[in-house]
Amino acid sequence: MNDMAESAALAAADYKSGYKPVWCPGCGDYGVLGAVTRALAILQRPPHEVAVVSGIGCSSRIPAYTSCYGFHGVHGRALAAGTGLKVARPDLTVIVAGGDGDGYSIGGNHFLHACRRNVDLTYIVMDNHVYGMTKGQASPTTEPDWDSKLAPGGTGVRSFHPLVIALAAGANFIARAFSGDSGGAAEIIAQAIRHPGFSFVEVMSPCVTFRPEQKDWKQSVRRTGVPETGDPAQAARRIMTDDGFNIGVLYAGDRPVYARERAATVTPAELEAEFAL
């Protein structure tokens, strides 16, 4: 039995706002919301010390459903906003969240450079291999042979492999979780938040409307049977050779975390003064 008691002062419910999610019934994102709030309860971080930043898409609605500070930003730019926020306010716990289209396509370049900068924030991608909000187009992680009327016969394009790309680009913590295991995902997210630097958690989050076959993921996922590693070469081998259903921490490194070299030399008021008309 895990001897860490939940509850204490703040419960997962304390991190939920009064807004009810409008995701499709059965959507995996409900499990991710549950995992994020449970993770924050594990860490006992007060909601006002946490900011959740997102882009655009079904999953990017998540800030509104938490009681933390939130920013529902521009498509693909969540990491840029989150990075700026963390650098300006290092005292905040910054969680950036979104989907595979937002993060790997529109925001693909931001993803690479956020990994490379290794600013201390946590990036959660709810990956369902499809653009759900815009009704089922193929996304970067869609399988090349996924047949649909919008991509007859499949796109034929190789799938993006975010985990190995994150590793190569410099992310300091890489994990895969599953929305159907909300408790397990919560523990991984809590570990990601605790870990210094850029922590990337790819959450398999089924889209029951456009990819109903993803309901079967529940039968395929398994907790990875190997201990986490800080060796990038070993992590790369594991990530490249697994079948995409291993859940757990795949890399936990000690790469240098970005830190501002000097304190701010001007105040916000001084900056604003330059733009005064």
Partner: protein
């Protein structure tokens, strides 16, 4: 990852057993409330109401355990992820089984399966009980779950079975097929 019958860890004391039961019932309350909200957001009022009722019933069980054990309402429970062999507690209805057009009969079918899993959970505890005190308590909870199974079955008889085209939607969200 999600076997139909789950093997609980073997509690060594009555308190451990009741903590597991408390955690299980709380998870059920939380999930039914979540499902009710989900259906409310999609204007499926009948199913939303049913899930609200189920959450209320499970909350009764939580209150019952707390009273029996003289525990406070905010009694902390261990996190059982990794102890229960499935990700969710035995009495939890899986989120992915939801459909925006589902009917009360579907909801009760899922509730019945959840009650059955809870029954099997306590049945396994009875068979593996560390001592007579734990066995008796587990037997009592198994009997309660058996009673719930019958109640849900009786409820199912009172609601109409869905037509074969229950999921047909003239204006579906998925228009590409």
């Amino acid at each position: 990852m999600n076997p139909p019958i789950q093997t609980p860890s073997r509690p060594e004391t009555l308190e451990e057993l009741m903590l597991q039961a408390l955690a299980m019932e709380r998870e059920a309350v939380e999930r039914y409330s979540e499902l009710a909200d989900m259906m409310q957001a999609h204007n499926n009022r009948d199913v939303a109401e049913l899930f609200h009722k189920m959450a209320g019933y499970e909350q009764h069980h939580v209150d019952h355990i707390l009273k029996d054990m003289s525990w406070p309402a905010d009694k902390a429970t261990p996190r059982y992820a990794g102890v229960w062999t499935a990700p969710d507690g035995p009495e939890v209805v899986p989120i992915e089984e939801m459909h925006y057009l589902m009917q009360p009969w579907h909801a009760l079918q899922l509730a019945l399966a959840a009650e059955q899993r809870a029954h099997d959970f306590f049945d396994a505890l009875v068979r593996n009980a560390a001592n007579d005190t734990i066995r008796r308590a587990a037997e009592e909870m198994r009997a309660e779950e058996a009673e719930h199974i019958e109640l849900v079955r009786a409820w199912m008889e009172k609601v109409p079975q869905p037509d074969s085209d229950w999921a047909a939607d003239p204006d579906p969200p998925r228009y590409i097929d």
